[in-house]
Amino acid sequence: MPASFFEWVVFFAKKYGIFFLKGAGTTLYIALISTILGFLIGLAIAVIRTTPMDEHDSQAKKAFYKIVQAIFVAYIEIFRGTPMIVQSMVIYYGSAELWGLDMSPIVAALFIVSINTGAYMAEIARGGIISVDKGQYEAASSIGMTHRQIMISVVLPQAIRNILPSIGNEFVVNIKDTSVLNVISVTELFFMSKSAAGTYMRYFEVFFITCVIYFILTFTVTRLLLIVEKKMDGPDTFVIHGSQTVPSAVLKGTR
């Protein structure tokens, strides 16, 4: 039996290395997929919520729009206002109880974290859309672009770029918060650690390793996202085009 703290750490790293990696893999998998899905949910909601009503629209359409808005607000408030650990229990056991749904823990995990993230993302994305200068929208309108065209070509690219740090933040939060999913037996990093620690009753050493792994995950992700942001901003300088006399020749050089 290992004697010191250090020996225990080496012992667990050797014996349970694969175990930890699998747990970390699951954690990253759930966090990544759910952040992406949550982003798409949030973006869709934000786009719908920021769509202006046309005065020519019928009363029925306006009423429908109001109801949809109310549903979105309820969704956002409920999921932001309750802990994800409780949401997990309610959704996982509730779906089994009420509809006899036998979700695998991992599917349940993806579902729960996605809609939880979606609630936060909806507000983040709405903020991103609203913060794009109104002049951008007006200029695009003034050359005849439709609302949809303006959103796709002008507003959303800028909004998404501006909220990228918040999206990254949600991703990091998700890496950490997937740990609560151990309550529904998802074999993510925390769950794996708990099993390993329980076998030998060595909680400190195991969770020390777990701690390091979580940090490596979040730190790497943060760095990667900074690179992505830089990439999205494009180069700091631009290429001057010398030839002004032969437009077609200039164009060939541009692509």
């Binding site: 007006e138 200029a139 003034s142 005849g144 494009g234 085009h241 002004q244 541009t254």
Partner: protein, 246 residues
């Protein structure tokens, strides 16, 4: 008499209690270069913004070639493609390069192919002296250059009318000239221009008509010669004295 390109009839615009446009009647014919002058808050920007429906008029009508632009079924997109606008703050699309700023409308609204759009955009950027900067993003160029690109973007739609809302007011003095010279060329090319401006020299020398606005009304609408040398309205005289003696 031929029909005006744009005709504004009994136009009123209130922002809440604030009556900004009281009763505007106004016509623009092909080739007109009209300067709109008047003190701050007199409603000049609001008039331009109503003309392309960035602001919804409270009452009154606007006709484009005799067609009511507020009528149901009127294609606002098509209309706006025909009536371009240049803003005081440029409003170039920040996420797009200079070239893409001038192609996105052609491709999305006028349904041109990308290569066709780029070819035309380059021609126009060349004519405003910005062809060298096609790869630049808006934040990488100066104010005067931004405004020239904004003009090129509007021109890329091949509009019949261009609306300018104080196109040189946000510029450093040394950049005003380059933008005004582009506008002079446009005026000489026969394009119809409606220019809200504080540049009295432009109003006097380039336009064929000057409209003086005062408290939401058109107080005087005449030739530059009459407005500058022999205004009929006392308020026009006071305004011009102030402007020209700064």
């Amino acid at each position: 008499m031929n029909t005006p390109i744009i005709k504004v009839s009994h136009l009123e615009k209130n922002f809440g209690e604030n009556k900004v446009l009281v009763d505007i009647d106004f016509e623009t014919y092909k080739g007109d270069v009209i300067s709109i002058i008047g003190s701050s808050g007199s409603g000049k920007s609001t008039l331009l913004r109503c003309i392309n429906l960035l602001e919804k008029p409270t009452s009154g009508s606007i006709y484009f070639h005799g067609q009511d632009i507020q009528e149901k079924g009127f294609s606002l997109q098509e209309y706006r493609a025909r009536v371009g606008m240049v803003f005081q703050n440029f409003n170039l699309f920040n996420n797009l390069t200079v070239l893409d700023n001038c192609t996105v409308g052609q491709i999305k609204v006028n349904r041109k192919s990308k290569s066709e759009a780029e070819k035309f955009a380059l021609e126009i950027l060349n004519s405003v002296g910005m062809a060298q900067y096609i790869h630049a993003k808006p934040k990488q160029i100066s104010g005067g250059q931004k405004q020239r690109v904004a003009i090129a973007r509007a021109l890329s739609m091949e509009p019949e009318v261009l609306l300018f809302d104080e196109p040189t007011s946000a510029l450093d003095p040394e950049m005003v000239g380059e933008v005004l010279s582009v506008m002079r060329n446009l005026a000489n090319s026969g394009l119809t221009l409606l220019v809200v401006t504080h540049e009295m020299a432009f109003a006097r020398d380039v336009s064929n008509r000057v409209v003086f606005m005062d408290e939401g009304l058109i107080a005087e609408d005449s030739t530059p010669d009459i407005i500058f040398n022999n205004p009929k309205n006392q308020r026009t005289r006071i305004f011009l004295d102030r402007m020209l003696n700064q």
